[in-house]
């Protein structure tokens, strides 16, 4: 920039610096959208994200004796793993404010030790934030020995503030082989094979 009058060069650097700062900030904003998205989903119950409450909170809830809601349980197995995964009961009649327990059954159909992870979703979406769990197998990754089976517990409570027009809530779980598990390819082998491919 030696060929510009000094003042002009400074002015250019000023503008360029500000614009560069904007670009860097927007790169950060892209990443900030990840937690923002999660918070919005949690607050609004979008995406069927369920809530989590402590046992004390669940015990303090007032039971609504005059209302019955049907809770249905469904399961989906993600294509990435060899699993059997299903609810032990298909549906329950529950009173809002009372704590209930049920289980899901899972079996590892492969001959390897595999980690499973369940992700929940509630429909209708409007009911999602009133569906709270004190304990769920989906809170942690589940380790399965080869061919092992498990009955995995789920303790839930429906908030008495559940909108009156909802009388049926469906809880759906999708079961995945956990990423980072040996069933998904790790970085180094794929890059090695790729390096071989291009060298041929």
């Amino acid at each position: 920039m030696s060929d510009h009058p000094r003042a002009t060069g400074k002015a250019h650097a000023m503008v360029a610096g500000k614009m560069l700062a904007l670009a860097v900030a927007m790169f950060g904003f892209g990443y900030a959208m990840v937690p923002i998205y999660d918070i919005i989903c949690e607050v609004t119950g979008l995406n069927g994200k369920t809530g989590r409450v402590s046992i004390a909170e669940a015990e303090a809830a007032k039971v609504d004796p005059n209302r019955e809601v049907i809770v249905e349980f469904t399961s989906t197995i993600n294509a990435s793993g060899a699993w059997d995964f299903r609810p032990t009961v298909d549906q329950m009649q529950v009173k809002p404010g009372q704590t209930y327990q049920t289980t899901y059954f899972a079996q590892n159909l492969s001959d390897n030790t595999t980690i499973g992870q369940a992700t929940p979703s509630v429909t209708p979406a409007a009911a999602a934030k009133y569906f709270n769990k004190t304990e769920c197998f989906c809170f942690t990754q589940q380790v399965f020995e080869p061919r092992a089976t498990k009955d995995m517990p789920l303790i839930f409570i429906i908030d008495p503030d559940l909108p009156l027009n909802v009388d049926r809530v469906t809880l759906s779980y999708t079961f995945f082989s956990s990423p980072g598990d040996n069933s998904t390819a790790s970085l180094s082998p794929s890059l090695t094979s790729f390096a071989q491919e291009i060298s041929q």
């Binding site: 510009h4 250019h12 927007m26 904003f29 959208m33 998205y37 992700t119 794929s190």
Partner: protein, 536 residues
């Protein structure tokens, strides 16, 4: 060149270096805004034929139902690559090239503010596109999941995925550097006395476009970086198994993607706002409202992104918000269209080639705008989503929209670039043949789209056969008529009727006050701003 032409004789060596350096290295090492503008424009023209060739492969496959010409995976690569090439390799570089050539001359500046950065911005692009296009020859093939690269589909791509992501990063860096340069030029290098509200419209639209680029390209870079780490480094941004969400990608992507579509059209608005007044022999109607309308469109473009996602299961409140905010964009856009019409009203109009392309732009861009309004209506969009109606919509705004504006700009300013008039007869013929075929190509897509033909699929139901055949005829007609464009450009470079400095009778603006062809260095002394040299 060891010195850019921005020097004010501060260094004695400058006196000996007033022409371009000899040989090919001139183009590699140049920091001259006109040279770099020329490089961008040539690059864009070459990519136009590469992307166009891909489009013809797509249309050849769709000539008749059934899998006939290429295999489905390659077809998907073609739809994906066609989009990437046309957006990042044709329209954006063409606008940046025009900005390089014209903005310093329109502002009375000797060069861009950061000439060396400018050289980098350009020379990154050929390398980025070499990497991008090379994926087509790799074992795992080119990207085939659509240019929007939605996970989880895109994560199933082979290892050439990494090359695609790095190419996008490079293209993004090039765009952001180019934009920073344009903003610095506009803020710091205007001729003394030229206020912001006296700037030519092309400069205004580019200033706003540059801000859009700086604000959104990094978000896109972030999104593709997340894809990269999800694919190779076991993060779970978009993987439900790890607590992520693939729909979140769509939000991040379209937060970039929607402003991007205005990046592809705002400079076109600027170009049209120069050509219509020139050939109507009037001043632009409603200059102030044009500036504010452009700024409003840019602002609104940040709060409409989820209209690309009406079928993902948003809550009603979200759908309503994005529907209304999207429809609101038609207000400032309408202001622009009515201002253009009012500019022509009772003007002494003549219909040289740039004017034909500009009027064609106004009419056909409005058709695309209207189908966009239809797509904005949420309940209707659920039917139209991912059909050929969407393809018809965005091709109307991009081909007889953005591409026509670039062709109009080329015909309008090429006498200034080369010093020769282009062949007017051939230019007009080029316009009419292109316009007939572009409508034969894209108009039937509205019909098959409304009838439910899905996009991005190599096969289709028998009922769509006739319209697809017609569209393919249009595609080949339009594609081959662009060879005329190349011929006209070469002919104009080689010779022709000598152009005056003013070129067009009564043309206003500083770029018409210098000789044709524009000398290698212009406005080394700042010009004096008079009412006749500002365009408003």
């Amino acid at each position: 060149m060891s010195y850019s032409d921005a020097g004010h004789d501060a260094h004695h060596g400058d006196h000996d270096h007033h022409g371009p350096a000899p040989g090919l290295m001139r183009w590699v090492t140049t920091t001259n805004h006109k040279d770099i503008g020329t490089l961008y424009l040539w690059f864009s023209l070459i990519m136009f034929f590469i992307g166009g060739g891909m489009a013809l492969i797509i249309r050849a496959e769709l000539w008749s139902p059934g899998i006939s010409v290429v295999d489905p995976m390659f077809f998907n690569s073609m739809t994906t690559m066609h989009a990437i090439v046309m957006i990042f390799g044709v329209v954006m570089p063409a606008f940046v090239g025009l900005a390089n050539w014209m903005i310093p001359m329109m502002l009375g500046a000797p060069d861009m503010a950061l000439p060396r950065l400018n050289n980098w911005s350009f020379w990154i692009m050929p390398f980025a596109f070499t990497i991008m296009l090379s994926t087509l020859f790799m074992d795992s093939g080119g990207p085939a999941g659509g240019w929007t690269m939605y996970p989880p589909l895109v994560l199933q791509m082979g290892d050439s995925f990494a090359f695609v992501i790095f190419a996008i990063h490079f293209l993004g860096i090039s765009s952001v550097m180019g934009s920073i340069n344009i903003v610095a030029t506009i803020f710091n290098m205007r001729a003394p006395g030229m206020t912001l509200m006296q700037m030519p419209m092309f400069v205004w639209t580019w200033l706003i476009t540059a801000f859009l680029l700086i604000a959104t390209i990094p978000v896109f870079a972030g999104a593709v970086t997340m894809l990269l780490t999800d694919r190779f480094f076991e993060t779970s941004f978009f993987s439900a198994a790890g607590g992520g969400d693939p729909v979140m990608y769509q939000h991040i992507f379209w937060f970039f993607g929607h402003p991007e579509v205005y990046i592809l059209i705002l400079p076109a608005f600027g170009i049209i706002s120069h050509i219509l007044p020139t050939f109507s022999r009037k001043q632009l109607f409603g200059y102030d409202s044009m500036v504010y309308a452009t700024a409003s469109i840019a602002f609104l473009s940040f709060i409409v992104w989820a209209h690309h996602m009406f079928t993902t299961g948003m809550p009603l409140a979200g759908e309503l918000f994005f529907m209304f905010s999207t429809m609101m964009i038609s207000v400032p856009t309408g202001v622009k269209v009515f201002n253009w019409v009012s500019t022509m009203w009772r003007g002494s109009m003549t219909f040289e080639t740039p004017m034909l392309f500009a009027i064609g732009f106004v009419i056909m861009f409005t058709i695309g705008g209207l189908s966009g309004l239809m797509l904005a209506i949420t309940p209707a969009d659920i039917q139209y989503h991912d059909t050929y109606f969407v393809v018809a919509h965005f091709h109307y705004v991009l081909v007889p929209g953005a591409i026509y504006s670039i062709m109009a700009a080329t015909y309008f300013w090429i006498p200034k670039w080369t010093g020769n008039m282009y062949d007017e007869k051939l230019g007009k013929l080029h316009f009419w043949i292109s316009t007939i075929f572009v409508n034969v190509l894209f108009f039937p897509m509205h019909f098959v789209g409304l009838a439910g033909m899905p996009r991005r699929i190599p096969d289709y139901s028998l009922q769509f056969a006739d319209w697809n055949m017609i569209a393919t005829i249009g595609a080949f007609g339009f594609g081959f008529s662009q060879l005329m464009f190349v011929y006209i450009i070469f002919k104009c470079i080689k010779g022709g009727e000598k152009a005056t400095g003013e070129v067009w009778e009564g043309a206003r603006g500083l770029e018409w006050t210098v000789d044709s062809p524009a000398p290698y260095h212009t406005f080394e002394e700042s010009p004096t701003i008079t009412p006749s040299t500002i365009t408003r």
